[in-house]
Symmetry: C2
Subunit: 210 residues, 2 copies
């Protein structure tokens, strides 16, 4: 088994934190070109998926997509549960994880990939053809991120964690989104006190610090 | 329990087909304004999520996001399995479902919502604030859809179904994506013979026809 990753990139990081929470050690290989904003050509040529994280199983099967990889390890190693333990909890966690991904991670990615010179012609990850940057997505990404902060701050006003009373994979996606946004100087607004409280707490977890 | 839906919209349709495959009957309410391209104001005011499908549970909990709703019913009623029966199958199905969603459903939504006059100021679903249409996303949506067709045609060259040898939720998302694209005259290209073969077959399923 091998996990393909890339430096501090937010999506492989979701899997790394998940594995650390589970106490699992999976051999990994960083396939980024050092100091550059792209993956090694030999990785891109070998893998039609062209994105990380990517998990190679011992029988040769590939699992792409951070959440599919996490779901694989959750099924193999149910404890500690990070994706719910009964139908309702499973659904609520899946919902909040998806909201973090669609409304948060996509918003900051939209902002980031359309504003940086290093992503010219690559407005979306994983495509082999040219997808030109779209300047209007910079502003839209920022607007969406504001609404993401507002929604998650409200959710955390009466929940300790993003999906309720237990730390879950929804917290992991939210944290990686916010750290990515902060890296672009678009961190949590001052007035989002509930989100600030939550952020301070989850940032101290061993899985995040190490 | 109640499921909020909207006419032939592709995302509630994913849940409807899923429930029909399970043989489940869930009371539902269509919250679209007849003949218009928006949801009823009373629904939008009452539900911060502002999107369908949305599932209301008997204890008052809301589950948003088509896949979170499906996962709830899969956990409650495991047979017939539509999300996998072992860790590897679960992960492979989740991966393909996500690829259909990100690379297919998002592509056609991008095309559709940015090209129709009825979606001015609503380039994305579910937002309470103005998000202006971005004309460049029409072209990018089409380009992404081409690549989605290419990838899924290749996958179906040696798999009967999208995620392997069994019908799964990945087929449901793929079918709803393609029907939505066909509705916009962007159906499966002639040369995607594997996808055409699969499409003909899954379109005949009782869950889809009825």
């Amino acid at each position: 088994m091998k996990l393909f990753t890339w430096g501090i990139a937010p999506n492989p990081r979701r899997v790394k934190i998940f594995l650390a929470e589970k106490g699992l050690n999976v051999p990994s290989e960083d396939v980024g070109v050092p100091g550059k904003a792209f993956l090694k050509p030999e990785f891109l040529e070998a893998h039609a998926h062209r994105r990380v994280p990517l998990l190679l199983l011992d029988d040769g099967t590939y699992i792409a997509e951070a959440m599919a990889i996490c779901r694989y390890f959750e099924a193999l190693h149910p404890e500690p549960a990070l994706m719910g333990t009964n139908p309702q909890e499973v659904a609520v966690i899946d919902m909040w994880e998806r909201l973090a991904e669609w409304e948060g991670m996509q918003a900051i990615s939209e902002y980031y990939r359309n504003s940086k010179g290093s992503f010219t012609d690559r407005s979306l990850a994983g495509y082999s053809k040219t997808l030109e940057q779209i300047p209007a997505l910079i502003e839209r990404g920022e607007a969406r991120l504001d609404l993401f902060y507002e929604k998650f701050d409200a959710q955390l006003s009466d929940n300790e964690y993003v999906a309720g009373e237990r730390f879950s994979v929804a917290d992991i996606t939210t944290l990686c989104t916010i750290d990515f946004a902060a890296y672009s100087n678009l961190g949590i607004p001052e007035n989002c006190q509930n989100l600030q409280r939550w952020y301070k707490s989850v940032s101290k977890r061993a899985s995040v610090v190490n």
